[in-house]
Each structure stands twice: as structure tokens, then as C-alpha cells.
């Protein structure tokens, strides 16, 4: 069948069929993609976000800097530490506070644990969309070991609320250090099995090699970050580019692939997790002694000023633009989330592809609608 180009048909031509994918769909929960199809080919696709827009930024203006902690981690519940990490860095910079070294290390540990939790969910669902049921069964089960580790450190199951302005909420118990090192050893062996069963699988290669290729130039132009950018050959990693919170103490690489297709975007996540395990092990072994946080009080006084803070979250660059006017609450709290930054690439990639490839491409962008909508 001949591929239909968008220029050949207007969207209202007879043979073009308009289809709405979502919001109730196994492949696109709380998100809708408006599709114009010509037979099995997608002529045009437009994302329709906003089903989980909860007005976090407006709510942030009604709460003080500490009260903002719980609701700010909800948008990206898979990666709850990293979204608070950027916020805490911003508030720390505004208050000019120096975090004690042990607090900095604990922040790094929790951030990397959360990166693994988030990536595990990502590759689990990627496996599901490829019809690879083993991957979702394994990853959803193995992910719980990391959640358990986070629970041992922070006390909650997924919403850790561990990284707060001024340091971390509580110290790490000794048995969690032991458990963490054991989990790291076990997980490194486990990841080899993932490579064998999923990434080297011929079925997975056939379904995702060369599907949804994002070139390096397009990745730059669309402002792609995180796994999407690194799979397209862009060596962007905030941990390396501006080492925050003692990231300069650890030895790790930034994995970069050049294919830019769905397989590469899923594989970068695995390589990321290998580096995360290395960082966690180094941080647990070299944990300095001392206090873990500064005493801020329930309503910290934040001096007037502006700050743009960013961290490398699981999906990419998480940034906050905080404007303070000296009052107890932020004057403006802008959350720049990686999913929203990668969203512009979706309509570009969903052109002249098969309908069956839509879920693969969509999920390989590591797009989490709750995070993008805020």
C-alpha cells in the first residue's frame, strides 16, 4: 500500500479517518491522541493532554515552602524524589543554605533509587506494549525490591517525601545500608537477564528497531531531554553538566546511543540503571558522618529573589523557576517537567507510521501524562 503523505490529503478528505485514541485505552491512560488515518498509516497525530491537569503551580502559590512538599511529588509519583530534588535545590539556593555532606549523599542515594523505580516501570510497560509479557511480570516484581528499599529509608511506599528543603527528612537506618548493597549486587546480575530476554530478543528488535527515529537535530530543536535525547546522540546529563549535591564525587558515565529509535530509547534506560547502581553503591559505601539536614522550622523565611534550579530526573531535566518576594509563599512556582519537554516530539514521530507502532513510539518517549499536565 502506498504511504499517504500529509500534504496529499486534507484531513477532511473522504479516505482519511479520524480516530480518537484514549483517554480510556490500555495504551494511553489519561491521555488522548487524535489520529488521522489513511488505512493502516497515520497521516497526522495531535496529542491532547490535560486530563490530569491539577493546577500544581497555582496551588504552590497558596502554600508555604514546606507545605508545598507533599503535593509537588504527586505529579510524578514514579519519580517522586527527583521532582522534589530540583525544588529543594532551588529553595536551598534562595536561602543560601549549605546542606551537610551526609544529607547530600542521602539525596543522591534516594534520587538514584527513584530513577531505577521509574525506569523499571518504563521498561515494564514498554515490554507490555511490545507483547512481551515476561518483561512486565519480571520488572513489576523486581521494582518492588527497590520500593522496599526506599520504604526502609523514607517510611512510605512510593511517595517518599524524603528530599526536602534543607536536606533530607531523616537519617538512613543501618540495616537499609546493608540491604541496599545486597540489592545492588543482586540487581546487576538481574539486569543481564533483562538484556538476554528483552533487549536481545529478535521479536523486540523487529518491533522497535527503526521505529520512531528521532534525529539528533530534531532532538535539539524540539528541546528533548533525558532518555529521549540520550538515545538520539545528545550527551545531555545535568548530573555531569552542573554537578549538584556531590555528584562530582561519584564515578559514572552518561550512556549515549545514536540510533534514536524506540529500541535505543528503551535501552538507554537500562544503561542508566547500571550507572545508578554504581552510584548507589559508591554513595552507600562512602557515606560521610554528620547531620542530615538543617533546622528550618515549619515556615522558613526565604529571601526575595529568583532561581532556576534543575536536576536530572529519570525522564530528563527537571527544572523549577521559583520567584520569591520575601513572603512565606512562593510568588511564582514554575515546574518544568521532562515529559512536557519531550511532548513536542510525539506528533513529529507519529507520522507515516503503522497504527500498531503507535503504542511503542508513544511509550518509548517515556511520557508520563500526570507529570506533563501537572
Amino acid at each position: 500500500m502506498k504511504m499517504a503523505l500529509e500534504s496529499e490529503y486534507s484531513p477532511d478528505a473522504d479516505r482519511i479517518m479520524a480516530v480518537s485514541l484514549g483517554p480510556q485505552h490500555p495504551g494511553a491512560g489519561h491521555f488522548r491522541i487524535r489520529l488521522w488515518l489513511d488505512g493502516d498509516y497515520v497521516v497526522k497525530a495531535l496529542p491532547d493532554a490535560g486530563y490530569v491537569h491539577r493546577g500544581e503551580e497555582k496551588m504552590g502559590e497558596y502554600r508555604n515552602y514546606i507545605q508545598n512538599v507533599p503535593h509537588l511529588e504527586r505529579p510524578v509519583i514514579l519519580d517522586s524524589s527527583n521532582i522534589l530534588f530540583a525544588y529543594s535545590l532551588g529553595v536551598d539556593e534562595l536561602m543560601n543554605s549549605k546542606i551537610p555532606p551526609r544529607g547530600q549523599y542521602l539525596r543522591v542515594i534516594m534520587s538514584e533509587i527513584n530513577r531505577i523505580i521509574s525506569h523499571m516501570y518504563f521498561i515494564a510497560i514498554q515490554g507490555l506494549f511490545l507483547g512481551h509479557t515476561t518483561m512486565i511480570t519480571w520488572c513489576m516484581g523486581d521494582r518492588d525490591f527497590w520500593i522496599d528499599l526506599g520504604e526502609r529509608i523514607a517510611g512510605a511506599r512510593v511517595t517518599f517525601a524524603y528530599i526536602i528543603p534543607g536536606g533530607v527528612r531523616n537519617d538512613i537506618p543501618d540495616f537499609a545500608i546493608e540491604k541496599g548493597l545486597k540489592t545492588c549486587d543482586w540487581f546487576e546480575k538481574r539486569m543481564d537477564e533483562y538484556e538476554k530476554i528483552f533487549y536481545d530478543n529478535p521479536m523486540v528488535h523487529q518491533r522497535s528497531d527503526g521505529v520512531g527515529v528521532l534525529s539528533r537535530d530534531d532532538a535539539i530543536a524540539f528541546g528533548a531531554t533525558g532518555t529521549v535525547a540520550r538515545a538520539s546522540g545528545l550527551a545531555l546529563d545535568v548530573r555531569k553538566d552542573e554537578p549538584y549535591s556531590s555528584y562530582q564525587d561519584f564515578e559514572f558515565k552518561t550512556p549515549v546511543l545514536t540510533q534514536g529509535d524506540s529500541w535505543a530509547r528503551a535501552y538507554v534506560a537500562l544503561l542508566d540503571m547500571r550507572e545508578s547502581v554504581k552510584i548507589i553503591r559508591q554513595a552507600l559505601k562512602g557515606l560521610p558522618q554528620g547531620p542530615v539536614r538543617l533546622k528550618l522550622g515549619p515556615q522558613p523565611r526565604v529571601p526575595a529573589g529568583e532561581v532556576y534550579s534543575r536536576t536530572e530526573a529519570a525522564r530528563g531535566e527537571m527544572s523549577y523557576y521559583i520567584v520569591s518576594d520575601g513572603s512565606p509563599r512562593p510568588y511564582r512556582l514554575k515546574i518544568g517537567v521532562p515529559s512536557a519537554k519531550n511532548l513536542r516530539a510525539l506528533p513529529h514521530l507519529l507520522r507515516n507510521v503503522h497504527v500498531a507502532d503507535i503504542p511503542v513510539i508513544y511509550w518509548s518517549l517515556n511520557y508520563w501524562p500526570v507529570e506533563a499536565d501537572r
Partner: protein
């Protein structure tokens, strides 16, 4: 024929007049029990993720908690074949009409679990401009599972509660 014993005809007429009750006791109750027993161990949820609680539903469906043990299937398939809708968290103003539409398309009997503080009262987002303060204004809720997000065990408990409710359902046709 005409001279049939009054006593006898009376008994017969009484029996015929109460045939509904007789059938109800003889067949209806076992049938209802059987149908409800079949329903309660094959709950099929609609895959409608509304917000972040869906992560915990994913964990509950995963290999550690495995809600299939309790007779709840994976959330896949057409919503016209579904009989359970788990509202996973916040319902925004944009999603609310869609939620109602999805609920209306499902076949009877159908049940609703409101999962998470947001779908019960609005939760943390009580002062947001775009969030509904509880979903029971738009669809009837059978079981509330509190938490933010509820742990997977809490969701399992909610499902077991719902199964108890289905087992005691007085009629065959649902509500």
C-alpha cells in the same frame, strides 16, 4: 370438572398464584447465588487511569501482589465487557464528562471503586481550580479505598469488600 373439590382447587390456585415465590425459592435463590458467585470472582476492570494511583494498580497487578489471585482480571479489553471501574485518583474537570460517558457505556451490573483520597474528596487538591471534590457527584460509588496513594494491599482489601457486597446482592439484575 365443574364439581371439583373446593379445597383442592383452592390449594392449586394458591400454588399457581404464588408460582413466582415458589420459583424464587426453588430456582431463583440458587440461580442468584450461582450468578453472583460467577460475577464476584471474574471482575473485569475498565482500564481508565485517571491519575497517579494507577501506579499502585500496576503494582497490585504485578507479580508481587497479583490481584488475579482474588478474582480480578487484568485491565484490558473492551469496556462493554467490563463490570468494574476503578477510579484511580484525581478526576479533573476535563476528565469528568469522559468518566460519566465510560460509566454509561458499561453493561449492568457494574460496580465502582473510588481509589485514593482525590477520588473520594479531592484530597490534596481540595483548592485546585480543575479538580472534582469527589466523584460520587457524577457516578455511584460502591467501595472507597482511602490513601494517597493507597497501598496495593489496601486495593486488594477494597476488592474483597466489593466481592462481599456482590455476594449479598439481593437481586439477579444488579442494583
Amino acid at each position: 370438572m365443574v364439581v371439583a373439590g373446593g379445597q383442592k382447587a383452592g390449594t392449586f390456585q394458591v400454588l399457581v398464584g404464588k408460582i413466582d415465590d415458589v420459583l424464587q425459592y426453588a430456582i431463583g435463590d440458587p440461580l442468584r447465588y450461582l450468578a453472583n458467585w460467577g460475577r464476584l470472582y471474574s471482575l473485569w476492570p475498565v482500564h481508565l487511569e485517571t491519575a497517579c494511583c494507577s501506579v499502585e494498580v500496576g503494582a497490585a497487578a504485578g507479580s508481587r501482589f497479583d490481584i488475579e489471585r482474588f478474582g480480578t482480571l487484568e485491565a484490558f479489553g473492551s469496556l462493554r465487557a467490563c463490570d468494574l471501574i476503578i477510579v484511580m485518583g484525581t478526576v479533573t474537570r476535563k476528565l469528568a464528562p469522559r468518566l460519566k460517558l465510560i460509566y454509561d457505556q458499561m453493561a449492568e451490573p457494574k460496580w465502582v471503586i473510588a481509589m485514593g483520597a482525590c477520588s473520594i474528596t479531592g484530597g490534596l487538591y481540595f483548592d485546585s481550580y480543575n479538580v472534582l471534590r469527589g466523584i460520587d457527584d457524577i457516578i455511584p460509588v460502591d467501595v472507597y479505598v482511602p490513601g494517597c496513594p493507597p497501598r496495593a494491599e489496601a486495593l486488594i482489601q477494597g476488592i474483597v469488600l466489593l466481592q462481599e457486597k456482590i455476594r449479598r446482592m439481593p437481586t439477579l439484575s444488579g442494583r
